[in-house]
Symmetry: none
Subunit: 246 residues, 2 copies
């Protein structure tokens, strides 16, 4: 999702400080296009500006609209965040996925209503989808900047992750054959040092294999293990010589 194609729209924010803090959250997530609809006062006062620390460029570039309709008129897709789980409402993750698809040519707006009262009915009607942040019902309310941060986070991830699908668990897990080679050296060393029972060394070796395989060692880690095995083997062979021959 090109961040230039995403606008954050704050409708009648209750406090200017919240707008400033929202600017910071936007900048944390690489967003820069802000609309403020019917602010109580504009520009916001100096003491509130400090909450936009480091994100004054976002605040200064914000555009003010007299209505939500005006703010979103240029958007091809408009989503409203809602404090309540609505039937058919989207998760932030789904919003991000859809925005990634839709915002390729147009722009998407994500609308945040007044903190206490929410959007008016006719404003909700302007929105194409409702998005609900799945907070815990025991404490559902987020402040404005937190809600912007979470939505921005999902939009950012959708941008960073696309188009590559879920990355593999780790890029550099060693092949199973490499693990076996290291286990072979470890087995020899642990026999040399008298840790494994020569009549049945593989019972415990199997447990070590499971442990290591579960971790999915990197080639580097297998190199460490082979170095460790060689050193243990050396010590074991010396230590276990009959006393007179050491």
């Amino acid at each position: 999702v090109d961040p230039e194609r995403i606008a954050i729209v704050l409708v009648r924010p209750s406090r200017a400080a919240n707008v400033a803090a929202a600017c910071r959250a936007m900048k944390n997530m690489g967003l820069s296009r802000l609309w403020v609809v019917e602010p109580k006062r504009w520009p916001i006062e100096r003491e509130d500006r400090c909450l936009a620390y480091g994100a004054w460029d976002v605040l200064d570039a914000a555009r003010v609209a007299a209505s939500l309709a005006e703010a979103v008129s240029g958007s091809t897709f408009v989503a409203a965040t809602s404090g309540r789980a609505a039937a058919g409402g989207w998760s932030p993750r789904r919003l991000a996925a859809e925005a990634a698809q839709r915002a390729g040519t147009g722009t998407a707006s994500v609308v945040f209503g007044p903190e206490a009262s929410g959007l008016l009915r006719e404003e909700l009607d302007l929105c194409h989808e409702l998005v609900h942040i799945p907070t815990d019902p025991a404490q559902p309310s987020l402040n404005l900047a937190q809600a912007v941060l979470l939505i921005g986070y999902e939009l950012r991830l959708a941008r960073l992750e696309r188009p590559s699908s879920e990355p593999p668990r780790r890029a550099d897990a060693a092949a199973a054959g490499e693990l076996e080679r290291s286990l072979g050296e470890l087995r020899a060393a642990l026999l040399d040092v008298g840790y494994l029972d020569p009549s049945n060394p593989d019972r415990i070796l199997t447990e070590l294999r499971r442990l290591l395989a579960r971790a999915g060692p990197t080639p580097r880690e297998l190199t460490l293990l082979r170095g460790l095995a060689r050193q243990v083997s050396w010590a074991g062979r010396i230590a276990r010589r009959p006393a007179g021959t050491r």
Copy 2:
């Protein structure tokens, strides 16, 4: 992820107000287990408590520890959040996915360092994985409560999305304190055998810790490792004696 099996650990938080705000963010995401390591003052003062509005139960149930080692000793998995993208660091989403798998029976700790300075080297060494919140490099820093909120959000989604009936990856992961005890014996043995560099043994030990922690050893596996360490230590001490004294 059962929220009872997730602990948030705040290390030397710079301001009590940040701890209170973090409690609110935890409660937003249904988390309730909080450790505070080396707080400047405890309990926190009334004027800061107000920032935990609605989450006083989380704040009042917080436990104080004198060290990070103490706070995480009962955890089977310990992740540290980092302000910097580290090679091999996990995303919050990956953390949540792994925690969902590992926390079936044990507990996971997510560690947040001091806001300005971050965790100490030896504290990072106690953590099994690093997690980085992918903020924009132009404005990377989040406040403590925001970082807790984002991690909590991912953990919550992992819980909501995953049927709770799904079996945990393993029944009986050992606690971090047990792993540290075994690593201590392994460290001594690998010094005895001349594998670790006495002037800097912990560099490689840190790699071994990560490898083992990734696997999530069982108590039985740690017993095997301690037996192995004792045998290696014995051989090392004999092998490295001056030749005439063997």
